[in-house]
Subunit: 114 residues, 2 copies
DNA sequence: AAGGAATATTCCTGCAATAGAATATTTAAA
DNA sequence: TTTAAATATTCTATTGCAGGAATATTCCTT
């Protein structure tokens, strides 16, 4: 869960989340990321550093370029963390069931004209 | 995805995440939350306000107490947002596990399911 | 070797958000 | 009706963090 906690705080920053969204479609260089997000290069580098230090991204060197891409682990961590809330999520279906029962009851009363 | 984005930024704060962790096991009052997290009551109230405004929690009034509990929706939003990264997660799985390659081949021979 | 491109780093500033302290509000109980 | 408990709110102060600007570093090209 530590890994998931980390990911949450790192992805809480809008630009970093945007970077992750960008990289979902494939790897990109720093310049490409800065350009597409319309942020300055140093800011992109800083966010990329934080993302990499927290193991959300990994870098590959290509001459004087750095190519960043997503690592799958943090997303898997987030998923298994979310699994621990399944009980709560299922509760919602319970509510839906209750609602459906209410509808059925109303339907019954209608049909039997009480 | 907007809902998921919101949840991410709200849960990026450690105390708020801790509150959510606490409430996973059931509803609690403000005082109980403050006590268990060893934070002061006003701070607890403030975080609870933010969590409620962002629809991560819901409140129920009981006399002069307020009972907070989790809402399932944000977690479902996070889950479906994570689903959009499944491709990336599976990619890494390929590299690590030969068994999946076997499955992939079987899938290829089967071709179109439903 | 020199210049330029891509990226990282450092230093500084400003701001937003969190914590702290004090007070207000609501409700129950005596 | 006074008191106490639970919570919310307001105001202030502090700090962490993101952004800006300038510079450093690395690598390619000529």
């Amino acid at each position: 869960m530590n890994q998931a906690m980390n990911a949450l705080s790192v992805l809480g920053e809008p630009n970093r989340l945007a970077i992750v969204e960008l990289l979902r479609d494939g790897e990109l260089t720093v310049g490409e990321i800065a350009q597409r997000l319309e942020i300055r290069q140093p800011q992109a580098s800083k966010h990329l550093k934080i993302l990499t230090e927290n193991e959300i991204l990994e870098v590959k060197a290509d001459a004087n370029r750095r190519i960043y891409k997503l690592r799958p682990e943090p997303f898997q961590s987030l998923e298994s963390w979310l699994k621990t809330f399944q009980k709560i999520m299922e509760e919602r279906y319970d509510k839906l069931d209750d609602y459906l029962q209410v509808l059925q009851q109303k339907d019954k009363t209608k049909k039997s004209k009480k």
